[in-house]
Symmetry: C2
Subunit: 312 residues, 2 copies
């Protein structure tokens, strides 16, 4: 039996102007998973700690993702045992399901001698996303697998790009512990946008990608604007505007909704600013009486990581 223990990172998708295409990978928040290759045919979820998630393989995002990988590799004769130590809360908007499915396929691929590239693994992890949300989106599994900032250029065919990650970028993420129904966060979005707004959005996306490649932090900041989705979805998140104002006035480069919410991200240059932003956001939220978590994290340029590797 070969066993590996991994860190499966949380991710921030829908980064402002990069709605549906741009995401990034976090470093200090993520699940742990222990994955083993066994000689007992079939994929099994052998343990789930920290969350109430299905143990049945076909109902578990990690289970279905690994099954899809094994089918593609023609390796359905092997056995895989999956233990999940969940640290990312479900429904938080920082890629909880993506961490499980990305982590699982990455670990199995690694144990099998890396027959697939991280890019190729994205499609299998997306099978987990489809189970979780009904939509096989890649904007969380791509940064979890590739690390850093990723762009989903196209789904047909799937084309996922790894961008450059300036070293000093640090995320502050607040997770207000409220439930935003997926149906609500979807229904507020309009299916048509004005061409003018669309041009503003893609101008900013071009600016953001340029800022990442040229390590121009100011440019990254002024490009982190979302004129299409944020004005609609932010009404579902208590104190969103106050959090954003607090973050920006404390020195954050940009601030917006993480995923489809309710988490809010703020991106800063340097850990010191990100910590100040964390304090400013905390001050805003403590007045609401709502429960919340705040995380401060460098951008994880690597993605899924090995925690140790006990051979058995």
């Amino acid at each position: 039996m070969k066993t590996i223990k991994i860190f499966a990172p949380a991710t921030v998708a829908n980064l402002s102007c990069g709605f549906d295409v741009l995401g990034c990978c976090l470093d200090t928040i993520g699940d742990e998973m222990v994955i083993s290759i066994t000689d007992q045919q079939g994929v099994r979820i052998t343990k789930i700690d920290g969350a109430d998630l299905p143990m049945e393989t076909h109902k578990n995002v990690a289970g279905v993702a690994v099954e899809a990988l094994l089918v593609a590799l023609g390796k359905t004769e092997i056995g895989v045992d999956i233990e999940i130590y969940k640290k990312i809360k479900a429904g938080s908007g920082i890629g909880s399901s993506a961490a499980s499915s990305a982590g699982a396929v990455w670990a199995v691929n690694h144990l099998l001698g890396n027959p697939c590239t991280p890019q190729e693994l994205v499609a299998f992890a997306m099978v987990g996303e489809k189970l979780a949300s009904g939509n096989a989106h890649a904007d969380n599994v791509a940064p979890a697998l590739l690390g850093g900032f990723t762009l989903v250029r196209s789904y047909t065919p799937l084309d996922v790009l790894k961008l450059h990650t300036p070293q000093d970028l640090v995320m502050t993420v607040i997770h207000p512990q409220i439930e935003v129904k997926t149906s609500d966060s979807r229904s507020v979005i309009k299916q048509n946008v004005s061409l003018k707004q669309a041009i503003t959005q893609w101008g900013n996306l071009g600016g953001l990608v340029t800022g990442l490649f040229t390590e121009d932090y100011e440019l990254i900041g002024r490009s982190l604007e979302d004129v299409i989705i944020e004005p609609l979805r932010s009404i579902l998140i208590p104190e969103f505007q106050q959090v954003k104002e607090a973050a920006l006035s404390t020195g954050a480069l940009g601030c917006g909704i993480s995923g489809s919410g309710p988490s809010i991200y703020a991106l800063s240059k340097g850990l010191e600013t990100a910590e100040k932003v964390s304090n400013a956001i905390r001050d805003v939220y403590q007045k609401t009486g709502l429960d919340f978590d705040i995380h401060v994290s460098k951008i994880n340029a690597e993605g899924v990581k090995i925690m140790n590797y006990p051979e058995a």
Copy 2:
């Protein structure tokens, strides 16, 4: 009197997915201009060769652009004489008016010891664009002034970025000598687009910018797609689809409408492919009986260039 002779380059704007934001600068097609600083107060158009354009300063794009620059610099007491040797045909869709206004402000700024950066000159050249089309757009004057590929991230405030230019990119541009009325090319555009199409467009724009910075020619090629404007505007350009098919099947990375047409651009890797593309496009157009020009040009990473500098 100080005199300078310059090359004022043609430009390709609205590069497929980069509608209204992305343009690039050509190297083998452009106007020549001779600009002199005199002690006779006022801006004068002293010669126009090759086109029937207004000699009155306030009706000439170069005239109004230079006047705007002098006002901003507090230099209205000086005199400027402008000779224009027009090589770019008006209405061609490769930045004819932009070449004149960008060339003029660049030359005057140079003769005055460069008080403005190229980025700062964009706003003054835009005054010429406003006179020419009623719309102070920057997507041609920006690449003419900065060279290479440029992105207009925002107009309020104006934020123009220079991107990276991979050395091997070569443009083939065909200019069918037909008139496409500005009112027609505007009226076919819809003021609303589906969110789905907009996401496809900004995914491609992100891919294109990434391809430029990473010099990934294949990525540049597969990102050069326009799902919003091209399907509507291309119907105004005879044989557009045939030209595009000929260009792509001959090895062009991408092909689309230049500016608002009627010119069509094809971008290739290497001069040899660009010449083959030129021949293939010529074959298509010769059958139409329409007059046309074809240009092959490397990307001009520099922008406006000095041709000589006779001090008098």
